[in-house]
């Protein structure tokens, strides 16, 4: 079966600086894949390359077998790829509900409606008229996830959804991530918390200085190998 996502030999640059070196990953339909790695390893750059925010300078990205590298982010949303960006990036002048509705801009049909998001995150319904950035960090993360879901994606890219949140909130967020996965949505998530990445994913890639240093299913990877791949020792 054609993988949902196949990233082949991509390089990415910021000006003169090369951030990714010949990265290749494959994601099957319905899989949850975690990208782990230290700060500056290139995890977010990889997500930006896939989502069209920062196109790769070399290499191929196939989505359901079709090349997408170089397509703009808004065009990819229509095709079913959406990103939950690092730092949540809630629109400050929009209310909670308006933030969510922006996610529905591309009008892709599917199971996710505003009501379905409110069932998932009842607190958002309660505070739907509040300003988006007046909410707590965890609630803003719920908005960011709900907003992305309203585009009814086939592939959802989650960049550091646990960053800066209390452990109990992180658990709540990952409960939801599991629900989304159970509905058949393919997920690629970036995690700095290695144990969290190993626990949630079907397959893990570890990045080190813009290269893949290790990959495998979580139970096939031993601690020492991961630690070496993560820190580069």
């Amino acid at each position: 079966m054609t993988p949902v996502l196949s990233v082949q030999q991509i390089d990415s640059h910021y000006g003169q600086l090369q951030a990714l070196f010949g990265i290749g990953i494959e994601v099957e339909k319905g899989q949850t894949v975690a990208i782990i790695g230290a700060n500056g390893a290139g995890k977010s750059t990889l997500m930006k390359a896939i989502s069209g925010v920062h196109p790769p300078t070399r290499g191929t990205i196939l989505y359901r077998g079709t090349p997408i590298a170089g397509k703009s982010a808004f065009a990819l949303v229509k095709q079913g790829i959406v990103m939950v960006p690092e730092g949540r990036r809630i629109f400050p002048s929009l209310t909670v509900e308006e933030n969510l509705m922006v996610g529905a801009y591309s009008e892709r049909r599917g199971a996710w409606t505003l009501d379905a998001i409110y069932d998932l995150f009842p607190i958002l319904k309660e505070r739907r008229k509040n300003g988006g950035t007046d909410m707590s960090g965890g609630q803003q993360q719920m908005i960011a996830i709900g907003r992305a879901l309203l585009s009814n994606p086939e592939l959802i890219l989650m960049d550091e959804v646990s960053l800066g949140l209390a452990p109990i909130i992180v658990n709540e967020i990952y409960d939801v991530v599991r629900k989304i996965a159970a509905m058949g949505t393919t997920i690629v998530l970036v995690e700095q918390d290695v144990s969290r990445g190993l626990r949630e994913a079907d397959y893990v890639y570890c990045l080190l200085e813009g290269r893949i240093s290790l990959e495998g299913t979580p139970d096939a990877l031993d601690k020492e190998a991961i630690s070496n791949a993560y820190f580069g020792v």
């Binding site: 703009s72 982010a73 949303v77 229509k78 990036r89 591309s106």
Partner: protein, 293 residues
């Protein structure tokens, strides 16, 4: 100088109604800056261009007010490719490229208008409407044209408010204004939003230009003075605030009208002074909502 109550009331009413025209000048400028942080130095020249387009129709016997229905959509259509093929290329490259390009467009419009229509001043004849007035009492009457201008300005603001808050496209405008990169991640084509914004801005400019032409005379080089008024309206009201623009226009209109009562040559000066005061004491304007990004 001694004014009776009616005299004072008269000055205030004239000032507020004059503000209506300034609101129309400022709204398009504020909209463009709010959505894409672009300062359109050709804004005033587009106002004058619209007046000349209306002049062409008036030549066929069309009432200038009726010509709005043709000129506003035409200006909207001019705005789309202007943004898409020229101004979008200047965005994201710092503050200078859009300023230089719109300054260039300003010069091009002025010279093209001179070439086509000569440097003579022109006016748009709206017939009896121009001198018609509502008499409130013996010493107090309101010109129908200024009143109509003010009502149209309020109508434009209300329409914009509804558009921004109640429609999907309006929401996309606000999201793009906040954070264009994230808006694109949510499926919004920001460049398309910018093009539509320029179209809307120029459609409002068309209304402003025609009402200007009915109120007073204009010449190909009249644009920069209108731009200054538009700037002052927006500076006083605060960038990105629809109702701030209304307040800005009214305050500016009042300042000029009151200034002119003290000495007719203070008309412009009083407006500039008020703007200066706002810049000194509240540089973001009285009702700013557009956020830095």
């Amino acid at each position: 100088m001694a004014f009776g109550l009616e005299g004072i009331l008269n000055i205030l009413i004239q000032g507020v109604l004059l503000g209506g025209l300034y609101v129309l000048y400022g709204t398009g400028l504020s909209l463009i800056f709010g959505v894409m942080r672009l300062v359109n130095l050709a804004h005033g020249d587009f106002i004058v261009l619209a007046a000349y387009l209306a002049l062409l129709l008036v030549g066929f016997g069309v009432n200038p007010l009726v010509s709005i229905v043709a000129v506003a959509p035409l200006m909207f259509v001019i705005g789309l490719p202007l943004q898409r093929f020229i101004l979008n290329r200047t965005l994201g490259k710092g503050i200078m490229p859009p300023l230089l390009i719109t300054f260039g467009i300003s010069i091009i419009i002025q010279n093209a208008l001179q070439l086509q229509f000569s440097a003579d001043t022109q006016g748009l004849d709206a017939g009896a409407l121009e001198t018609a007035s509502l008499t409130l009492s013996d010493g107090l009457s309101i010109g129908l044209m200024p009143l109509l201008t003010f009502v149209i300005a309020i109508g434009v603001l209300v329409a914009l408010q509804v558009f921004f808050n109640r429609t999907k496209l309006g929401r996309a405008f606000r999201a793009t204004s906040d954070d264009p990169e994230t808006a694109e991640m949510m499926g919004i084509n920001s460049r398309q939003i910018y093009a539509i914004a320029m179209g809307i801005s120029l459609a409002i400019v068309a209304i402003a230009g025609i009402l200007l032409g009915v109120r007073t005379t204009f010449a190909p080089t009249a644009g920069p003075a209108r731009l200054l008024i538009a700037f002052e309206t927006v500076i006083i009201g605060g960038l990105g605030s629809i109702w701030g623009t209304l307040a800005g226009g009214i305050i500016l209109g009042l300042a000029q009208t009151i200034g002119a009562q003290i000495n007719p040559t203070y008309f412009q000066l009083a407006g500039h002074l008020i703007t200066l005061l706002v810049l000194v004491f509240r540089p973001t304007g009285l009702f700013a909502v557009t956020r830095d990004r």
